[in-house]
């Protein structure tokens, strides 16, 4: 009967493990970032850590931050050159303070102040290690000539992720039959929000309208939304007409593209198993940060906004 006990124990461990997975771990991040970095690698690691912290702050109360961003989108200019992102957030919060309760305001202000501190550190790091902006993180297998000054963002936040930071280059077509190449597609925008979806995925379809709104919003900032419908790879005619039908019904007018399933990008798509998944890709085809899994119109809107802000800041900087 020992087997039974062992099994029971294993199950208990699984249970404990699963509970542990739910807790977030900001404490870990904070404990290890003391001490000045000496080498570029160390600075790089610290940089990544600070970025991760920022995302953590923003995603902790994503609903509140979402409100803040809503206000920001309407009235204010986005982060300007040299401006502290935390300052920007504080200003926005101040502007929208009548929308929040006192507790919420306190939470937001604290978060923004923290971000301000982090941004200051980031700026200091950038100043001290100008190389930081020229090199992606050490372990990445990116040919350095492909990574120009704004490679920092992609190298930065994907350091803890084994994914290649480059979005695989592709040539294909959009759903209207026009030729598309990734170089031109990404190169034409400061950043591109790439949304993976498929026609019968309800949460994917649910956010198409929001993505269209986002696309229009981003146009003014040099960004664009591009959809990749997994069903349309290889250009299957009926899949394309289904996809176009759904897009039309949801009033989505932004570009949707496809390519061969055997291509690198096709394999990349095959590995996307949670739908929708949204990437932010910079001008040079580098993936910015970690992909957003799940509909971006809901709790993940803040995370997407943070990625966009970072991509934009890097493109300008």
């Amino acid at each position: 009967m020992n087997v039974k006990k062992i099994i029971a124990l294993l199950l208990a461990l699984v249970l404990v493990g699963s509970m542990a997975a739910c807790g977030n771990k900001p404490a870990e991040n904070q404990s290890s970032n003391s001490g000045e970095p000496k080498t570029v690698e160390e600075a790089k690691a610290l940089y990544d850590q600070l970025m991760a912290q920022e995302t953590e702050i923003l995603s902790a109360n994503s609903e509140l931050w979402e409100k803040v961003f809503l206000v920001a989108d309407k009235g204010m200019a986005m982060v300007e050159d040299g401006n502290n992102y935390g300052d920007f957030l504080l200003k926005t919060i101040e502007k929208a303070k009548d929308q929040f309760t006192e507790d919420e305001l306190k939470l937001l202000t604290e978060g923004a102040t923290e971000i301000k501190g982090i941004e200051d550190k980031l700026a200091a790091l950038e100043e001290k290690f100008p190389d930081l902006l020229d090199n992606p993180s050490g372990g990445m297998s990116v040919p350095s000539e492909d990574v120009p000054s704004d490679g920092i963002v992609s190298g930065g936040t994907t350091a803890d992720n084994s994914n290649a930071p480059k979005f695989p280059a592709f040539t294909g077509k959009d759903l209207d039959g026009n030729d598309v190449s990734s170089d031109k597609l990404f190169g034409g925008n400061a950043f591109t929000v790439v949304n993976f979806w498929f026609t019968t995925c309800k949460p994917c379809v649910g956010e198409l309208g929001d993505l269209d709104t986002l696309n229009k919003e981003l146009a003014g900032k040099g960004g664009a939304v591009v959809g990749i419908n997994a069903f349309t790879l290889n250009g299957d005619a009926s899949a394309i007409s289904d996809a176009k039908d759904v897009l039309a019904k949801k009033g989505a007018t932004y570009q949707n593209v496809y390519f061969d399933a055997d291509s690198e990008a096709g394999k990349f798509t095959e590995n996307v198993y949670a739908y929708p998944t949204t990437y932010v890709v910079d001008r040079n085809g580098n993936i910015v940060g970690d992909p957003i899994v799940g509909a971006t119109s809901e709790a993940q809107a803040t995370a997407l906004q943070a990625l966009i802000d970072k991509a934009l800041a890097a493109d300008k900087g």
Partner: protein, 308 residues
Amino acid sequence: MDKKTSGVSHLLARFRGWIQAGATLLTNIHLPNFLKGGLYQGKGKAVCVPGLNCYSCPAASGACPIGSFQAVVGSSKFRFSYYITGFLILLGVLLGRVICGFLCPFGWFQELLHKIPTKKLSTKKLKPLTYLKYVVLLVMVVLLPVLVTNQLGMGDPFFCKYLCPQGVLEGAIPLSLANAGIRAALGSLFRWKFIVLLTVIVLSIVFYRPFCKWLCPLGAFYALLNKVSLFQMQVDQSKCVSCGKCAKVCKMDVDVTKSPNHTECIRCGMCIRACPTDAVSFRYGFGSGKQKSKTEQTTTEVKTEESK
């Protein structure tokens, strides 16, 4: 001949745990995916597995029939899935709830939990709850995904989304452990379903297979077909001494001598092992055995009543 089948029955009943383990492994053969945090998306996923096993389990070899059914009827193109229903009827006729007893990974999971030594409670008095699973099947699996839809006629897989604890256990937990993006996507829905899973786990320790008895829509489907399934229980009335041990030992609250094809019977064979005269055995195939035992059964019932 009789001896031989009862020998096979004993063997099946005895090694059921190992068969369950083997079935669970075969149902989830792509084990390395647990570490990679991805899903197997090959051709196997076009076929349903017999038991309740989440499509989104990284190791899953096939699709969950209940999940697939909801995915099809919830899509804008279809209102009913003939392919999956046909597949389930076929399995139900060929095997019936022997799938619950021998092949279902979530059934095995609950049984393992039940082995944790604590005070065990009987579910006999909770019999009305066994009808709940038919409601779950009808409402959450068949009706809601078709009726509650968005403007494009797409519905949600209500059972998977709001109730199924197997989805959390096999899908959400391992995927979120291995993948930061998915971890970030966890929200209130995950919390709710995690509570459901915890509740099922706690109940499974105290009760025997609570989810199978009360909630499982797949079990409900197979239960309906249990009556006409080729895999059945057989009670040899000439051997039966009416000692009542079979009914006493049955954790699904069935009296095999009275209703060998009861909807709740998962063919676990505990009655076979408990029977002192080897009167109970599995039976497979067509034939008059059932008819015969039924007439005999009525006469014995009359007799017992007379003897009272």
